[in-house]
């Protein structure tokens, strides 16, 4: 018999911006809900290692949705005549609608990159609704490392090949080959213009520098973890953000880049498990 993983995938339709969106999500485990937010231009498969980790799923119900336009979630009807762009408000609405739609009570949210950034807004606006928040590769602002996201969606450049090639350098040299190429494959698969559309939030709309100091970590613990090889959201960006947030807990992860959970899962869990234990038991 084949070895069947504990991950289960399902679909649900949510109303976002007044329109129906059919959203795919996966989950595994039971206990405290742990909602995982994937990076820009990727999908929920980035969390497959967390969902297959019995030390996590023993106490946590790990969930990850593919954002609309990503993975197995379709764009909304009429998408063919639109240019996709993720906004701060739209992203917040998606997360809160998903949580309410599944009836999740005070979940932990763990997000990476754009997901790490939106965690800062969840902390500011909805702290009492979460048990804890974890931002990976998270900052209120980060300087761009290339000028023009237009390269990601042009007729004369293969978008998938380029997205994969651009992301390849954000993975630490120490990360194992299989996990590295898994991570890149998700980028290579993303729909035309989708990664570019996500970056509207990451680079433009989601400048949170004027807001993060209002985060109250006494209502909801906030953990920020950034990989030392990440030159998109750098350790310095995360540390600078944390300086503005009283009580934020920062870890700079050695030998990790921009995709901790998917580029080197066996290494990342050493950083994550103690945090999940602390959240669950309340004992640091």
């Amino acid at each position: 018999m084949a070895e069947i993983e504990p991950i289960v995938g399902r679909y649900a339709t949510f109303t976002l911006g007044g329109r129906a969106h059919r959203v795919y999500f996966e989950e595994a485990g039971g206990g405290i809900p742990l909602v995982c937010l994937h990076t820009a231009g990727a999908d929920g498969r980035q969390f497959r290692h967390l969902m297959n980790d019995a030390d996590i799923t023993r106490h946590y119900r790990v969930l990850a949705f593919d954002m609309p336009w990503h993975g197995k979630s379709l764009p909304p009807a009429g998408w063919q005549d639109e240019e996709y762009a993720l906004t701060t408000r739209g992203y917040l609405d998606l997360i809160m609608t998903f949580i309410a739609g599944l009836g999740l009570q005070r979940p932990v949210v763990l997000g990476c990159s754009i997901g790490g950034k939106i965690v800062l807004e969840l902390a500011r606006l909805h702290a009492s609704e979460f048990r804890a928040l974890i931002g990976l590769e998270s900052a209120a602002h980060q300087a761009p490392w290339y000028d023009d996201t237009g390269w990601l969606h042009r007729a004369d450049v293969h978008g998938g090949e380029l997205c994969g090639a651009m992301m390849s350098g954000l993975i630490a040299p120490q990360s194992p080959s299989e996990a590295r190429w898994d991570t890149l494959w998700m980028y290579m698969m993303s729909g035309p213009g989708v990664f570019k559309g996500d970056l509207f939030f990451y680079r433009t709309d989601g400048d949170l520098r004027d807001r993060v100091s209002r985060i109250d970590t006494s209502q909801c613990p906030l953990y920020l973890l950034t990989g030392e090889y990440d030159y998109s959201t750098t350790p310095a960006d995360t540390l600078s953000t944390a300086q503005q947030i009283k009580g934020a807990r920062v870890t700079i992860m050695r030998g990790i880049g921009h995709f901790p959970m998917s580029e080197h899962p066996s290494h990342f869990r050493r950083y994550l498990l103690p945090i999940l234990d602390e959240i669950r038991t309340g004992v640091p």
Binding site: A143, W145, V157, H158, E161, S168, G169, Y231
Partner: protein
């Protein structure tokens, strides 16, 4: 180390069949500067046709990647330090500049990055 790296480049790339396949549509000549020395790399169908050492007076090239010799040495370490592990990392940190006609560069980005990283840990 820099001279050795550029001299080794044709064999490192041309003997790597998956890399040549990755660059099968790449036909261009690009310039790499390492401090005071410049190198013109000519690619045909994913194979390195020539690596020539400058200085050049009137040689056309599509794009250029410029860094100090020291930065390239860091880039070619077996396990490069953060900031030296990718040409974009070097560019963001101010260690490298990527200039010129970026269309062939972006069209073949993974191949170009792999060509530039080919000497890593081998020279």
């Amino acid at each position: 180390m820099v001279t050795e790296a550029f001299e080794a480049l044709p064999a490192l790339v041309n003997d790597d069949a998956p890399l040549v396949r990755r660059g099968r549509d790449c036909n261009t000549a690009f310039l790499v500067e390492a401090g005071d020395s410049s190198w013109l790399v000519t690619v045909r169908g994913g194979r390195i046709e020539a690596v020539e050492r400058g200085p050049f007076r009137m040689r056309p090239w599509s794009f250029a990647v410029r860094a100090s010799a020291e930065a390239w040495r860091s880039f070619w370490q077996p396990v490069p330090a953060p900031g030296f592990h990718d040409i974009f990392a070097m560019a963001k940190a101010g260690h490298a500049r990527i200039e010129g006609d970026l269309t062939p560069f972006m069209q073949n980005l993974r191949f170009i990055k792999d060509v530039l990283a080919a000497p890593r840990g081998r020279v």
